[in-house]
Symmetry: C2
Subunit: 258 residues, 2 copies
């Protein structure tokens, strides 16, 4: 099948324009697309170079979130099919607000304060990874609990990086799972606990990579641990998220609003 070349042009990281392009193109399942990211197009020279590259690609589609009129004009010179997200969305917003848009750099990120609170959150989440420093759990926004390799660490780090939340994580060991309640150190923090679980098959596959053919990675051990954890979560009425079919973005977004 012929693959359409799709350029994603942005004056910044390109995360937004790539997400819009992927979402819209997902609605043309009969076609194949290959995405080419052109981020940091923030000068007329770079915009002209991008336009030349696009013009040399027959049948190219171009998604753009450029806001500077001069850069957008340069891009139009490529004569490709151009989908300018702001051109398409801003007029409707202008009409609703009764106010003309002022093209700005479009920088919605990059604020030092935001950066620092997120870096603080990452440092916190690393410092309280895997049950470390339980005496600081009272400083956590959320505390993820679950058995080994259920995805606590990546979820905690993503919540910290993306949303600036201070997220500790606490592993339930086989010893913990034999008890009648969650570890004592967690009981003072029940409202901020969030439980993670997975299908036993997924968990076994993940553990298998780490310790092939071990008891730890056996389907039976995974089933037993997950069942014991489920019993403990139920005991304390914890919200439980089954992450079996979720991306890390989805896990983080669901935990954020849980």
């Amino acid at each position: 099948m012929k693959s359409h070349s799709v350029f994603c042009v942005s004056d910044h990281t390109g995360v937004t324009v790539e997400a819009v392009a992927k979402s819209v193109l997902a609605q043309f399942p009969a076609l194949e697309f290959s995405l080419i990211a052109l981020p940091f197009i923030d000068s007329p020279e770079k915009a002209r170079a991008a336009a030349a590259r696009i013009a040399a690609t027959p049948g190219a589609l171009v998604f753009s979130t450029l806001t500077d009129p001069a850069l957008r004009a340069a891009l139009r010179d490529s004569r490709a099919s151009l989908f300018d997200v702001f051109d398409l969305v801003a007029p409707a917003v202008e009409a609703a607000l009764g106010l003309a848009a002022t093209p700005s750099g479009g920088r919605t990120h990059g604020m030092a304060n935001d950066y620092e609170s997120r870096m603080d959150a990452v440092n916190f989440s690393l410092a309280l990874d895997d049950g470390l420093q339980p005496q600081r759990l009272d400083q956590a926004d959320l505390i993820l609990v679950g058995v080994s390799r259920v995805g606590k660490t990546p979820s905690a780090l993503y919540l910290a990086l993306q949303y600036g939340l201070r997220v500790a994580n606490y592993p339930l060991t086989p010893d913990d799972l034999e008890q009648d309640s969650l570890p004592g150190v967690l009981l003072a923090h029940l409202p901020r606990l969030r439980a993670l679980t997975l299908s036993a098959e997924r968990l076994a596959a993940i553990r298998q990579v780490r310790y092939p053919d071990s008891r730890y990675a056996s389907l039976r051990q995974c089933r037993d641990e997950l069942a014991a954890a489920k019993r403990l979560f139920g005991q304390h009425g914890l919200p439980v998220l089954d992450t079996t079919r979720m991306s890390v973005e989805e896990i983080a977004a669901r935990l954020r609003y849980s």
Copy 2:
């Protein structure tokens, strides 16, 4: 100043619709907006509840990336100013492709393979954080180097989480900085080394939070370390990224394409 309520409605995490809303609204600097995220609106019941909440908010603006026609119809019942990103962008794409869009769940994430490669990358980046396991540096996609607290760890983790890259990081200690070349363990990997730097003022402020009024956090010490690191980077011709005014997204996107 009156603040406009802006709802961001998505059938998934809402990352895309929030990014579009923020970018477009940044072009109305005279107005104030308060964003309300409504993610995971994936059933007619949830869409009706969202519409009712929006209808109860006078003057609300609504950005949406819903793709299911039934859910979008429910949202229109709110009678608010609705900016449906797909409604606004998809017709232009349909016209260019000469093909009608097929509304799908719009799930561009959530693929298990993708999840696993990113989790692998996170585990790798944690295992090779802060100079750990240098014998595995040959398995890294990128190796970040720089002085203490320059932002190596969060940048490495973001690259792993967002792009699935295996990113080690290696700190340059005061001892390393007195040498005539980078640490020997790095020399076999020069093409994959990326240097990070910061202004001395920013670095001192960051270190100050960790060890107030220490020599380590003094402006003079930070200046000396950064100058010595710069000399070493120049010696080996490493690409150097000054992250002083960058968000972690921008750092990661720039390193990805460096």
